[in-house]
Amino acid sequence: MSTTTSPAATDAMRSRRHRRHGNRFLAAVPYLAPAALLYGFFLVYPMLDSVRLSFFEWSGFRTEEPTFVGTDNYVRLFTADPVFWAAFRNSIIWVVLSLLVPMTLSLLLALALNRRMVGRNLFRSVFYIPAVFASITVAAMWRWIYNPTLGTVNQVLEAVGLESWSRQWLGDPDIALYSVFVAAIWQGVGFNMVLFLAGLQQVPVELVEAAKLDGARGPQIFRHVTMPALRPTFVVVLILTIISSLKVFDLVVGMTGGGPAQSTQVLALWSYTQSFSNHNFGQGGAVATVLLVISLCLVVPYLTWALKGEDR
């Protein structure tokens, strides 16, 4: 976003470009077409079709024709579907917790690991490696770690004399969601840490040096030099965190399947369950549409802002 071109040169280019706009578009078509076709047919179309299906009642079986029911699915979703509200609540909790815990942790790790120190690359790898594991694999690992009798967590608690703390980590509706979230922290911190590390590389060294010469200390440097320079990184991490929180699916499927008693149900999984397990593509489409609207409300302002910066 930070390309520098002199204003005069920009003007000259712009007028030249204006005359050639038509040609440029025709020249661009062959390069755009393959991606546009794939993207349109296998991403945009299914998404819009989810919205369309949300106004129909349909079992998903080919033998049955979808029946148009207007807004019935939405009425039922908002007034008669307790699972939807549980899923909605859990998705919100998940987004808020993700913005608080793993984001803070990853920023702290990045700040610490931005210093030169012995074993820095090893540390970075240890924190990053869980991020390259498939979420479904992480789910299988943690289901084992949480195993009530043979799993690590309860055995450690017993070994240090805290038997009373041991419990059914994934079987207790009050804490199951948070147990799954711990696995998500373990997996997710490394990725954001790397983003923050990349952002820290863009903090101008001269500014830090100048601030030090002026007698600024660690916290002051952080507030007045590092933080402002990290702002674009923050925006990226923030938006990526929100999006990935709304997408949470694999971990829940692999660890609890949404249970016990819907206590770990989330929107993405409820949409899937309604369509494929309950054979109710209309209800599934309605949940998907809600999720789509939430995502777009968050993403479109961000993109508009990000792309405005692209102006030359």
């Binding site: 661009a28 991403l43 498939a134 799993g151 983003l195 990349a198 499927v253 789509l292």
Partner: protein, 293 residues
């Protein structure tokens, strides 16, 4: 030993008068070491369990060494989980999908970043939105589409949506790299008579090599790990990919803990190899681009 290495931690600035010991640095290092150990423990316990017999698993604590190192668990896991078949499927899909996806996405990023036609930014925005919407929103209709195209439960039927869902993110990232190329470069090439295709193929693509390498790794890992779409579109076990195999194994053989943990470890070996081989690109290539925009 540890303290001897610790004193070598530099204080940061050359101009600062060197204090005898950087206590903040040492404290930080210890805190990091403890966190790193905590972060690595799940792997250690996974591994220990993967070489234990059923008797050892139920009688010993998770941190105890096995009485017999049962490497046979790995062989059993490969066989029971059909690892060669599912691994082959995953590898085939990744090796077709990743290069093809990068080719298609880079062509689009080139068109948007270098040919700059009117409304190109709007088109970029339309592409970018797709990388930010939950995949699950489209799963139901995607299933129907594949059913009507007769591509359900086939590797090709998984490949096409994988391509579609990889494109937006890659276009967004590569756009930044292509746009940063100085105008003089391709203008002079054009004056020398180069076609648009040559500008794309011989100037822009080679310049974007670091970004392409980083995206290749990221996309390989993401494709290898994808679960939601695969579980929707694939049915027969012979078409399964690795994540489906892991999920299948952990629900079917949930009590065979040794083999289960061995299978989990084996399933992640390829991504670990890819990660370790191309580690440096993770921080430098793609992510610095991501942060810039």
């Amino acid at each position: 030993m540890a303290t001897a290495t610790l004193t070598r931690v530099p204080t940061g600035t050359a101009s600062a008068t060197r204090r005898p010991r950087d206590w903040v640095g040492i404290g930080l290092w210890i805190a990091l070491a403890i966190s790193a150990i905590a972060w690595a423990t799940p792997f250690v316990f996974m591994f220990l369990t993967s070489v234990k017999s059923k008797a050892d698993v139920s009688q010993l604590s998770t941190w105890d060494l096995p009485t017999v190192w049962l490497w046979q668990n790995y062989a059993d896991a490969v066989q029971t989980g059909d690892l060669w078949v599912t691994g082959g499927n995953s590898l085939l899909i990744a090796l077709v999908k990743v290069p093809l996806g990068l080719l298609v996405a880079s062509a689009t990023a080139f068109a948007l970043g270098r040919l700059r036609f009117r409304r190109s930014k709007l088109v970029l925005g339309l592409f970018a939105v797709g990388s930010m919407v939950p995949i699950q929103v489209a799963l139901g209709p995607l299933f129907n589409t594949m059913l009507s195209l007769d591509l359900l439960d086939s590797r090709a039927g998984l490949l096409l949506p994988y391509l579609a869902f990889g494109i937006p993110y890659q276009v967004f990232m590569l756009y930044g790299f292509f746009k940063a190329i100085p105008d003089e470069l391709d203008e002079s090439a054009r004056i020398d008579g180069a076609s648009t295709f040559r500008v794309y193929w011989q100037i822009c693509l080679p310049l974007a090599r670091p970004a392409l390498a980083a995206l290749f790794i990221l996309d390989f890992v993401a494709t290898w790990n994808e679960y939601a779409m695969a579980t929707t579109l694939l049915q027969s076990q012979s078409n399964w990919t690795i994540p489906l195999a892991v999920q299948g194994f952990s629900s079917q053989h949930a009590t065979d803990y040794g083999a289960l943990n061995a299978f989990i470890i084996l399933s992640a070996v390829p991504v670990l190899i890819v990660y370790l081989m191309f580690q440096r690109y993770f921080v430098q290539g793609a992510f610095s681009g991501a942060v810039k925009g």
